[in-house]
Amino acid sequence: PTLVLGQSETPKSGGKLAYAQLSANRRSADATNSRHPYFVVDSNVRLQWNCLTWVNPQLGWELEAAKRVEPTDKSLAVWEAELKEGILFHNGKEMTSEDVVASFDYHRQNAPFARQIKRIEAVSKYVARFYLDSGNSEFPYVLAEYNSVIMPAAPLATIGMDGIGSGPFRIVESDPNRSLFMEKFEKYFAGPAYLDRIEIYNREGQQEAALNGLRSGQFDAVLSIDARAALDLSKDPDLQIEAAKGGYSFVLQLPKVPGTPMDDKRVRQAMAFAVDRDAIVRVAYGGKFGWKGNDSHLVVTDPSFVPRPGGRDVARAKALLAEAGFASGVDLGTLYWSPQLPEAGRYFQVLQQSLAEAGIKVKLEERPNDGYIQFRTGDADLSKGNYHKFAMTAVGSRNPGISLFRMRNAYVESGYWRGPGHDRYMALYGQAMVEPVAATRKAIYAQMQDILFDEVPALLPAGGDNFLVHRKNVKAMPYHPQVWSIRFEKTWKA
């Protein structure tokens, strides 16, 4: 990939970069799996690993480990990827199609987006072929997901556990939940990185501690600071803020357990009308750095994004509740949240208060990020009648295909949305995926969003931009709307 960084100084090699991350899209990590790509994700993905493709800050896809990714036919259901030659893993082995097959055999079973891959085979030493369950014109985006890294081939039970990737840095030390130390991989296929060492410290939920560390000189950078901190720190002459427009937003997953209020469309609609999106943008994102969500996973920067018609309407919300039989208000129980981003606490308190004004009672309970996904989903299995919990999750910006796919049935983020509305939605999705004309596709996406406005399978009230702050002596350290797509191989210290 070519990074246009627009710097005039000549980069220097060497040095150590220590940064704290405040957001981690983490599964639980314990000593046995702390190096696995699935357990400490986001800020280390492109440091340690490579995927076949990469999504750039403008949210367009580019080639990464592959030199070619294309469909084999018009159905768009079979795709071929050809690896660049001479990509070495940290253990010195060359990356081949065998590794791609082994990796995706694992991903197929463990990563939600990779489930669409029905089969994968090695065609030649460098070419692998993917067979999808249906056509998907945006499949290269799936290959850029954080879960889609290429690991050295190994049995399913052990693959990825050693933490060996092909990225510009390799893990030398890991402390579950606390830190990850990496050193430069000299034989990185795109040329060695400038920095000798990167130390990542996990300070999720502790922005203040992280910023104190920055001020006291312990850290060179802090990733995913909130809008207000960014605003304040931009006044500091020693520091520089990097912003990425249209970053994370929060989904409220509404488990539609039969017989509970959330199963009733009118209650969900009432929520959509009651929530004070402006207040959230104001409080959590300082007014200018956030955007009002439209209850789809689309991000405001996306050309296909359609704003939700009409503003906040408490009276309407109350009327809907009354219609659903909750004239004196409804208690939805506990909403579990985790501090995946520094502003989350404020975000959900505003949400809670604004829902309360319409008579919708929600209790908040904080859970640590670590293990939160397991906690939230439990052993959700609709066939057994197990639902996940009434909880939130942070979602990063994606291409429309991936974003809109997240409302499918049998998925936690849609809260197991079902019924005719859902079926119409998914039919439109299938249509869009094989639609070659962009404008037509956009029209279909707009129709899909209309369905969401009416059905409100999940609530996505608002989102905000991504910020990182670094010292001025750190050069070429850009941020990205997708945190897992950041890359620091061109970053250097003056």
């Binding site: 203040e208 304040d232 207040a279 409080v283 606490g345 404020r346 308190q349 309360a356 309970e365 904080e366």
Partner: protein, 278 residues
């Protein structure tokens, strides 16, 4: 009693303590009377500087900070008073009874206090909160259990001392019932000690609840609470330090006040020896 109060009034630090405590109590009681703003409602822009609309500005959620500050002690103080009261009364009676009854009963009570004292308070709370969920009732009950151990020990020691006195022996020899001895002979003579214990226990309950709220295990948002406000305000420490400083000051001044007052009281009552300096 009156004489004790007069002697107390000659100690400037004790008076200072009593005044602090009374000021806090007045504030907690009067908050809803003087203030018309709902401490939960979100007014406008967050982190407004002090102004005519919000005298101390707004907090990070855009709620009136003064209102929240004045309301901020109510929950924790009520929890502390309740827990302290239950602990003092229950623990006091239990300790005195253990001293009177002796034998296996004393053994059981003493073992219980020993065991309870060896589990750090915060862990006891954690255990119960994890098992029973986070609620005010759980907080009160668990704090009361934790604090009662100290009271039991003090009361038991005092009880054993009193058991040596002629009037208790005389009552035993008369054949008075255990209850009558505890209530008639022991309790009145441990009353001052228990009063001081109550103040101390309530203040440690308050500190405990504040620390728990700070950790996110105590009183939960959006209830205004000083411990919680300190932790919420940390992110604004640099813009509006008073969001942290004021609630921290509230917590500290209340506890300092209680401690000054009780120090004075126990000196006036001549209780240092009975309390064993701890």
């Amino acid at each position: 009693m009156l004489a004790s109060l007069i002697r107390l009034s000659s100690r400037p630090l004790a008076v200072f303590g009593v005044v602090l405590v009374l000021a806090h109590v007045a504030m907690a009681v009067l908050a809803p009377v003087v203030l018309s703003v709902n401490p939960l409602s979100i007014l406008d822009m967050p982190l407004q500087p002090p102004g005519p609309e919000a005298l101390l500005g707004t907090d990070e959620l855009g709620r009136d900070f003064l209102t929240r500050l004045l309301y901020g002690g109510r929950t924790a103080i009520s929890v502390a008073l309740l827990a302290g009261g239950i602990a003092t009364l229950g623990g006091g009676l239990l300790g005195l009874a253990a001293a009177r009854v002796g034998g296996w009963f004393d053994d059981v009570v003493s073992r219980f206090t020993e065991v309870q004292l060896s589990v750090p308070p915060i862990l006891t709370v954690s255990l119960f909160v994890a098992a029973l969920g986070q609620s005010t009732a759980v907080l009160v009950a668990v704090s009361a259990i934790i604090l009662s151990t100290g009271v039991i020990r003090t009361a038991r020691a005092q009880g054993l001392n009193l058991m040596q006195s002629g009037y208790v022996k005389a009552a035993i020899l008369r054949g008075e019932s255990g209850l009558s001895i505890v209530l008639r002979e022991l309790l009145p003579n441990a009353a001052e000690l228990l009063a001081v214990e109550f103040a101390l226990r309530a203040s440690s309950a308050f500190l405990l609840v504040s620390a728990l709220s700070f950790l996110g295990l105590g009183i939960s948002a959006p209830t205004p609470d000083w411990g919680l406000m300190v932790s919420e305000g940390l992110s604004s420490l640099r813009y509006q330090p008073w969001l942290v400083v004021m609630p921290a000051l509230m917590i500290s001044s209340l506890v300092v006040g209680i401690n000054f007052a009780t120090e004075g009281l126990s000196e006036v009552f001549g209780l240092e020896a009975a309390r064993g300096g701890a």
